[in-house]
């Protein structure tokens, strides 16, 4: 286990290092001279040189990278165009997105698992076709459009829910939930569709396995066979799917927050792009990539804990 752990953490660290190099290089590849942008109307070469010196833009690129990473490791991601600390901005925006993503995962997992199990147990029946169709629709529907349609129906037409915005949880829990319900459903739809398909196929495999036949032969109730034996084994795959879907979830949060006017992490990304705020963009993308790597590492370790065979062979079957 120790060797496995070390290998996995080592690989994650390498990925993180290369990702940070890529982010740094990517931002350097953006068009426009940052000194010109910082100097606003100033075109005097002496002043520009001074600006370059102040922001260390005159140093060799590897040194600039080392300085940036060194500060980033201490939580300092620099200051954006409005002279605000990027690290602080991210820390204030991130919890909003985490709450949204958490709710979306909750909704997506509940619907996905339930639909997948029902489809597998009632295979070939109407409920199977219903669930399978739901998954296909969930995979094909553009989520930002689904969001716009929900706003039109539930906010503009029927006035059931607010069309957008965000109320902090500690201010008013009920309003907080009312504001996040539609965005979380929009964000959770894709996840539930992917999970449903995965659950259905892995439940079908489980239900055909020998241990399920044994459980049935022992005279266990159908409820206990499905719930205790087949479902438990299928849940292992669910953890991996959620890890793999995290990227889609972050992408989805970007556009969902844009539609619902939620000032979270995703909205911050789009703002950074639109305002050409490269320090901010650099910080946001780095944090997104780091989060993805860390969560997937956690999923990997959890998976190997649940399924000991992987620890021995060193890679997923």
């Amino acid at each position: 286990m120790g060797g496995f752990l070390l290998r996995r953490v080592g690989a994650a660290l390498i990925v993180l290092f290369l990702a940070s190099v890529l982010v740094f290089a990517g931002v350097r590849a953006l068009p426009g001279d940052p000194a010109l942008a910082l100097g606003a109307e100033e075109r005097d070469p002496a002043v520009l040189a001074q600006i370059r010196h102040k922001y260390h833009l005159d140093e060799p690129v590897p040194l600039q990278y080392a300085r940036w990473v060194g500060l980033a490791l201490r939580g300092d991601l620099g200051t954006d165009q409005r002279e605000l600390a990027v690290g602080h901005t991210i820390v204030t925006r991130l919890p909003i997105t985490l709450e949204l993503a958490g709710l979306a995962i909750l909704i997506g997992t509940l619907i996905g698992i339930a639909a997948g199990v029902i489809a597998a147990v009632r295979r070939g029946k109407a409920s199977d076709y219903g669930a399978t169709t739901f998954a296909l629709v969930g995979l094909s529907v553009p989520h930002f459009w689904l969001g716009i349609m929900m706003i039109i129906l539930f906010a503009v037409k029927w006035h059931w829910l607010p069309a957008g915005g965000y109320v902090p949880l500690h201010d008013d829990p009920i309003q907080n939930l009312r504001h996040l319900l539609m965005p979380a459903i929009v964000l959770g739809t894709g996840l539930s569709a992917v999970l449903m398909r995965q659950m259905r196929s892995s439940m079908l495999t489980s239900l055909g396995a020998d241990y399920v036949r044994t459980a049935r032969a022992k005279g266990l109730s159908e409820w206990s066979v499905v719930g205790k034996h087949a479902l438990r084994n299928s849940l292992i795959t669910v953890s991996t799917v959620i890890g793999l879907q995290l990227g889609a979830l972050i992408s989805g949060a970007v556009i969902t927050e844009q539609i619902f006017g939620i000032a979270g992490f995703g909205r911050l990304t789009i703002d950074a792009v639109n305002q050409r705020d490269y320090t901010l963009l650099q910080g946001v993308v780095l944090v997104a990539a780091a989060g993805y790597v860390v969560v997937n590492l956690a999923v990997d370790l959890l998976y190997s804990y649940l399924n000991p065979r992987i620890r021995v062979s060193g890679r997923p079957a």
Binding site: W145, I250, I270, V273
Partner: protein, 294 residues
């Protein structure tokens, strides 16, 4: 009678026999056929847009702003009095172009890299595997948004961004296929016969991963179509006044109260277009991969 049939079957080459079997399997799947028909309809609408569209997509009619659907304008008009149906038909051009070209670009990047890494292994393989891990750490949309920001907003740049964004996942798949195919008996036989690596890759590895690649292409196309709509919606893709489904959705947002249909129709177009390719992809997977056949 059956004797004659068998004789006819024997005369067919193995390849033709397989093709006939695959066609028979495909024709037994009504959903896959429906997907193929609708996807083809979208492609044809994109190609022949000037012929099919009832109006010019950019003709402004100040006398018919936000007009309701009528005989003259089947889906009504937008805030500038332009015909919505014609704009959706012309919008298919941007979507199909982005979907197909981005997928093609992703394949052109991914297949050579993935096959080289998986087939030759050596030091290259772990390097490629790590690099794809790195690229996969960036969520697809963040990668595409970042690239579109670097390259500047246009349909071509959005297509490039989507293609590059989709490549890492495909590299992983191509590498995995090449890894398993190189262990096949027929590859060993070819090696024993003195075949060169290049001829083994061209004659054995690539043809045998073709079905996987086709299925991957049919699921990458709808992802890229939605991606184009998202980028255009965010102002990072097609620029107005060129019609595109994402641009139309973005323009419809201020009018959700007076004319919600402006947001409804372009979204339905994206939905049916992406659904048709997904249905086709599901059908092809069932047909080409006997393991998943029920």
């Amino acid at each position: 009678m059956s004797y004659v049939d068998t004789a006819a079957a024997i005369e067919l080459s193995p390849r033709a026999r397989r093709r006939r079997l695959l066609r028979k399997r495909f024709l037994r799947r009504p959903l896959a056929i429906a997907g193929l028909v609708v996807a083809l309809a979208f492609v044809l609408a994109a190609i022949f847009a000037p012929v099919v569209a009832p109006h010019d997509p950019s003709t402004i009619d100040v006398n018919a702003l936000l007009a309701a659907p009528s005989h003259e304008h089947l889906l009504g008009t937008d805030e500038l009095g332009r015909d919505v149906l014609s704009r959706i038909i012309f919008g298919a051009r941007a979507s199909i172009q982005a979907g197909v070209l981005a997928t093609l670009l992703a394949m052109l990047i991914a297949v050579p890299i993935g096959v080289t890494a998986g087939y030759f292994r050596g030091w290259l393989d772990p390097v490629v595997a790590r690099l794809t891990d790195v690229l996969l750490a960036f969520p697809f949309l963040i990668l595409a948004v970042g690239l579109a920001a670097i390259l500047g907003p246009s349909l071509l740049n959005a297509t490039i961004a989507l293609g590059v964004g989709a490549a890492p996942g495909l590299i992983r798949i191509a590498r995995g296929e090449a890894l398993s195919l190189r262990e096949e008996d027929y590859v060993r036989a070819a090696v024993a016969n003195g075949a060169s690596d290049a001829s083994i890759i061209v004659r054995h590895v690539l043809p045998n991963m073709l079905s996987t690649l086709i299925v991957q292409a049919t699921v990458t196309i709808p992802a890229a179509i939605i991606g184009e709509a998202v980028l255009s919606f965010l102002g990072l893709g097609v620029q107005p006044p060129t019609p595109s489904w994402g641009v139309m959705l973005s323009a419809a947002q201020p009018y959700v109260n007076e004319a919600p249909r402006l947001a409804l129709f372009p979204g339905l177009a994206i939905f049916f277009c992406s659904l048709s390719f997904n249905l086709l992809g599901d059908g092809l997977r069932d047909v080409l991969d006997p393991r998943t056949t029920r």
